[in-house]
Symmetry: C2
Subunit: 204 residues, 2 copies
């Protein structure tokens, strides 16, 4: 489709928006025209929020989560259990686990998963810093909370090997039927695993 923009300024803004993931040119145009209708101050707030975040946001020196300070609010919270580390792929996963309100330990954000297909090796991820945290001796348990994919499994296995020399319990989040899902529609690999990894039922 030919798309003739009546203004080069508009075209450039649409072009920039359409480089965001999941935003096509039509959506980009809709967003840009929306901004054009807003007050100048609202548009300034929008661009300023992005610029300041990009310039000022930090990554926690301990867990590599995003943070406004050198050490993030989770790592610097004395009331959290420093002996348990939950290893996750990215920042969204920290937020997802936090939202469950079931975990009171600390995190370690890898920044990705090992994926030879995408050229991502262990050295590109925060694995050495995890080993270093464990080697200090305060950590009793490392929980691997990575996606249940080939890349996740590879990364789990690599971390397991790296942590083998240390006296630390390594566990992995349970995989099985999602809560609320019907058995009939669960794929057979998941169902098979959930039978193998069955847990004692205490009647509650």
């Amino acid at each position: 489709m030919i798309q003739q923009y009546p203004s080069r300024l508009l075209e450039r803004a649409v072009q920039e928006f359409s480089q965001l993931p999941g935003i096509g040119r039509k959506t980009a145009l809709r967003l840009v025209l929306h901004l054009l209708r807003q007050d100048a101050d609202d548009v300034f707030q929008f661009t300023d929020a992005i610029s300041r975040m990009k310039e000022e946001v930090k990554f926690c020196k301990v867990c590599h989560n995003i943070s406004d300070q050198d050490v993030c609010p989770i790592c610097s919270n004395d009331r959290r259990d420093g002996s348990t580390i939950c290893v996750v792929e990215n920042i969204q996963d920290v937020m997802a686990v936090e939202n469950t309100q079931q975990f009171t330990g600390l995190y370690h954000v890898l920044g990705g998963l090992i994926s030879p297909m995408d050229g991502i090796g262990p050295a590109d991820l925060e694995i050495e810093s995890l080993v270093s945290r464990v080697s200090e001796g305060h950590v009793k348990e490392v929980i691997l909370a990575l996606s249940s994919t080939m890349e996740g499994d590879t990364t789990n296995f690599y971390i397991f090997r790296k942590l083998a020399p240390y006296d630390v319990k390594i566990s992995i989040i349970a995989r099985g039927i999602a809560v609320g899902n019907e058995l009939e529609y669960t794929d057979e690999v998941t169902l098979g695993r959930s039978i193998l990894n069955r847990t004692p039922f205490d009647g509650k």
Copy 2:
């Protein structure tokens, strides 16, 4: 769902993004984290494109289309037919008609449709300026190309009444079965209209 952001800077950027139409908080977070991973210069290009567009873009003095100059490239193009004006709701509609490559006249962008429910009356739209263009006497035909909705029909009727005193042909874009659609699945109002407004068939 509780959503704890690890950084206020991040939270503000997500908040700003989620005010865009059709962007929820989850999508906003994904877009913001994408920008966070980009080079500082790429993020500058993004915010700069939006700021400059907002500050510098103009609206054509003649047709109210978006433009980099006082008069848009369509209105200032001598090779276009100045005696025909196509009336559209917004800038996207200009682009949609232009993309058909079937129209060589000029446009008039109303900036909306009459909608008493939304508090939009004729005075909020560029209708007076359309009447003023027609009153100059060079215009031979006004084509109403508005949406086939209650608001579109109301606006068509209002413009029709406003232009009645002038010696100008007023036409409306054809409504009927969309090209490629099957008769069986066309709604009956559209089908009824397409029978009433049948056109001579010359066998081609």
